[in-house]
Chain length 273, copies 2
């Protein structure tokens, strides 16, 4: 990879990086299109990072299909794909970790202990391997994005983070590699997650400033669907990812739910009054 990058730099090309865990879908496609448009040499990485999975069965069941993924990258004009093994990424004993405090404490950080340490560390590694000018991340993982942006700022990493809006199915479900593991019935129920978030957004736009009220409105809608188990649904400050009591500034409404043994997350951003 470093030889490819050195050759590209030699030719004066700018480098774009799209880090993925594979099982590529149109959400990744949007990241790649954005990178393709803004940079000269696009690198995608495909690595299902073991250190960011808090549940071993989630890691094992995570969809993998490298042949389909490579064809996908090819179709989208990706110049190089880095798809290392876990042994290649973590040779010998791993002793170093990157931690971003604060932003990572709630929501995904609370329900997936160690998740963001794994994410920050592997993303730092990928940044250091590819040394891209710009790296592309989807808004669906908004908290991850905030963690990475803070890491880049705090560690002076020489890369610009580009945020790409969540891509959704026609019925509103956020694209995710995990969607393919939903049963047909769960797939039919899954859009209720986004609908609940939209309800919360609607309540704020209609003037509600009470976070518990907004939260309750969204939860009421979600609870109508008995197959959906709610892990969290919170109104958080869009910068700190800490729950708020009053909606005064920019917020995100973020939720994680379970459908069968599949965990889905989604979020919407609402600009403050």
């Amino acid at each position: 990879m470093r030889l490819f990058i050195a050759a590209a730099r030699e030719s004066g090309l700018t480098i774009g990086l799209v880090p993925t865990m594979g099982a590529l879908h149109e959400g990744h496609g949007a990241l790649m299109r954005c990178a393709r448009e803004e940079t000269d040499y696009v690198v995608a990485t495909i690595f299902v990072n073991p250190t960011q999975f808090d549940r071993p069965e989630d890691f094992q069941k995570y969809p993998r299909n490298i042949e389909t993924d490579l064809a996908f990258c090819d179709r989208l004009g990706v110049d190089a794909v880095l798809a290392p093994s876990a042994k290649e990424m973590y040779p010998g004993e791993v002793l170093t970790s990157v931690e971003v405090a604060g932003i990572s404490s709630r929501l995904e950080g609370e329900f997936r202990p160690g998740h963001f340490r794994g994410v920050a560390t592997v993303v730092a590694k990928l940044f250091n391997i590819v040394t891209a000018d710009r790296a592309y991340f989807g808004e669906k993982d908004a908290q991850q994005l905030a963690v990475i942006q803070k890491m880049v700022a705090d560690l002076n990493l020489p890369v610009t983070i580009v945020t790409v809006p969540t891509v959704r199915e026609a019925d509103g479900l956020a694209m995710s590699s995990r969607n393919q593991r939903l049963t047909p019935e769960d797939r039919r129920n899954a859009p209720a997650l986004y609908q609940a978030l939209c309800e919360a957004e609607r309540l704020i736009r209609n003037g509600s400033r009470s976070a518990p009220e907004v939260r309750q409105g969204a939860l009421t809608l979600l609870l109508r669907n008995p197959v959906i188990r709610i892990e969290y649904l919170e109104v958080v400050d869009s910068a700190t990812f800490q729950p708020v009591e009053m909606v005064t500034g920019d917020v995100r409404i973020a939720a994680a739910v379970w459908l069968g043994d599949v965990r889905l997350i989604d979020n919407v951003f609402v600009r403050g009054a």
Copy 2:
């Protein structure tokens, strides 16, 4: 700094980095000479990093003399000096830290809680700002060096770490910015530290394989000098920096002592049998 580096790279120059906390002496001089010899464009950084000081009074009393330091850099042919303020290095709230487990747990890590987290984090920042090809560190801070080498390997940082042997005064005292804070009497007693380490080395070379015996030999010599207060003196594995019972492989004998309110460290490497 990034503009300087971009211009140097544009001209095809290789970059060498010498990170320092200022109060420059011939130990730093050796790092700079080495960098000057091996790379085309030498950057020195001067930053007394607050986050690696566990004792506020040590941070406050750390010697600072930027004018003398700049003249020193100039004399040694350094091309650029980065001497940021704490505000420039840590604008806003710092949430990100880099931790290297294991290697950092004993010796300096044990007696200076948080020290190596501060070191690893600021060195990662300096690496990301300067993006040097090679970075130069002194063997006097052997544990720090091991922490940084492990961080570079684990995070795939695109830099080669170069180790430079400890530079000593004629009487054996390792050069250190803290030496200038010694009273004349303490300065006369200070070489006992290195003499004790040499005694430990001699015992191993003479066939002793028992770490407690080697340690006791060095301590006995050091305890003869009542003004020296011993913080630690340990025989550690040279890779893991964990104390050993038997000297079977490569070891370091490392010690920290106090003379008045000045803390000195030193170490010697002994190749295993």
